[in-house]
Symmetry: C2
Subunit: 388 residues, 2 copies
Amino acid sequence: MDKVRIGIIGVGNMGKSHTEYLVKNQVSHAELTAIVDTDPSRLDWVRNNYGSSNIQLFDNLDAFYASKAFDAVIVATPHYNHPEAAIEAFSHGYHVLVEKPAGVYTRQVREMNEAAAKSGKAFGIMFNQRTNPLYQKLRDLVTSGELGEVRRTNWIITNWYRSQSYYDSGGWRATWAGEGGGVLINQDPHQLDLWQWTADMMPKRVRAFCGFGKYRNIEVEDDVTAYVEYENGATGLFVTTTGEAPGTNRYEVSGDNGKIVIENDQLTFWRLRTPEPQFNREWKNGFGQPECWKCEIPVVGAPGPQHKGITQNFVNHILNGTPLLAPGEEGIKGLTLSNAMHLSSWTDDWVNLPINEDLYYEKLQERINSSTFKKETKELQMDVKGTH
Amino acid sequence: MDKVRIGIIGVGNMGKSHTEYLVKNQVSHAELTAIVDTDPSRLDWVRNNYGSSNIQLFDNLDAFYASKAFDAVIVATPHYNHPEAAIEAFSHGYHVLVEKPAGVYTRQVREMNEAAAKSGKAFGIMFNQRTNPLYQKLRDLVTSGELGEVRRTNWIITNWYRSQSYYDSGGWRATWAGEGGGVLINQDPHQLDLWQWTADMMPKRVRAFCGFGKYRNIEVEDDVTAYVEYENGATGLFVTTTGEAPGTNRYEVSGDNGKIVIENDQLTFWRLRTPEPQFNREWKNGFGQPECWKCEIPVVGAPGPQHKGITQNFVNHILNGTPLLAPGEEGIKGLTLSNAMHLSSWTDDWVNLPINEDLYYEKLQERINSSTFKKETKELQMDVKGTH
């Protein structure tokens, strides 16, 4: 096999984006051969824009799979459907690249991971931000030991401004039944993933404070402050909202050897000449602190190849065994954090990880079933360039 | 009266600092006329350094008060003693400028405030950071309405590095009996005061997570993350530690009209051209956010006159009725936040404000009584220049 034939499941906002770069041959050794969507207008969009391409179009999954026109699928359906669609693809023997989030509740995502393992097929997730050299460098500085043991991970990511008009653009948006959450499930999956990926550890417990419909007429969370504790004693914060402008995106990780801050697309390492624990053991003169160097760390090529980079890596993995940058099984990590933050707010209590997946599912269903939320919606065709 | 004669109660680290600038006549219309301290070596320090000055020295409070050599006192005794010493001074009919913190638990501070009110004398507190034009400007931008309604107040103040050697320099340091707390009571009183002063509001409830002796061999807190909620729905964070280097001092306040950040001794106002609530009402096109201007706000003269500025203001208040920059009665606010953070950690629960002052006192006594903490101490004469 010298190329991977790709089928796309769902050609909404993200599916269209994947279609565009694949049709333009921006992923080498990949060919877009099939698209399935139950919405005829979306298939019309493909016909109108890429009618001359050899993409087979399907309005149902049975025909799509019967075609055998592809080797791998990209799942770009609504959030809730990701695990179900992926599991079906695995059952048909296909490699799967799933859009983020991995799903809406961890139980379904665990089942997806089990299906992937059983199938033996390639399984990736569209964590395109893992291609950003800024976060790769941070992970490098942590995992290589340059920063020393991590002590604090504070991410303030409040620049996800969304107006009421955005929420009103689709009736499914920002509802428990439609999306399964708000800013955590829709805007933050990348940051929740990068938070654990760059620190190279998951918290052991979470205490979160969510505001539901605090800034907008929606039923899900649009403001979150979450505090976490790690096994090694480190602590962390994750602060996010869609209600503030201009907001902030500042991620600070401190460790035994200093601190690293990513802000304004720059990474700075304040590096201690002597690791703090050693300084503390040796210093005998009261006031005093380790000498600190402000180090500008070279980061080349940000923000990286993003979506097409993940797809390229997925294709290379299938063809050449290149390690996956974002293995699909890891999608459960960020979702666990997201679910834990909801659950902690709902129970007004600590949530230990791994979370009780059945309890989360039950409490989510309660919210779906008791929802009386009716929005006046106005369908808008939105440009997702610049979103992730 | 054309000058205020000042007596200093306690000539330890801070009392010496007040002595120095008063002897050098750096506060106009003020004269240092008396000092009392029960430690003879401290009085020797005054004799050796300022023997030629006309300062009367006393080794007991009875003689100090009998001298009637002053019009006002500065209380610079250990933390616990501040309210008791101030109450005694009011009972003798003197004006009082008390060092920070106002006290260690709010019950004693409330009693001090009541004594002050009853006395009718001037009552100030050494919140010297209120003289810093940076924080004055922030308060100005909030109280004048420039920022609009406050939505979030996040202060990361983790640059209070203290080694074990510092804690070992005095047996009373960082013990429940000696100081009544750690980083919150010793290092952070200014920030806790400025936090509420600049935002011009107190939280209504607090949920805090303290690490006690996390980084150092001490029994009190050396690491704190506190989440707060305000009456108007705003939230806030206060993150502090003595265990990190180089640490961070970054205070961000966001509101309806943008956000203000103080970091690296600079204040920046990201100002929205249209207030966010108005933009949200008027915007009809899905994605989109208010136009934002990065405004450099002039701040002249930072860090301001600090301690001598507070003393000058106190003197001017007595002589001319100049309003106090830091009225003594306001010392209870920051202490309430500090006590609430302890209490929330001890009870692993929310604490509503005003706190239950008797419960706090009881829980503090439990810690004092059950303390088995013995430190190997090594008396160090420390230079407090550069501390606050």
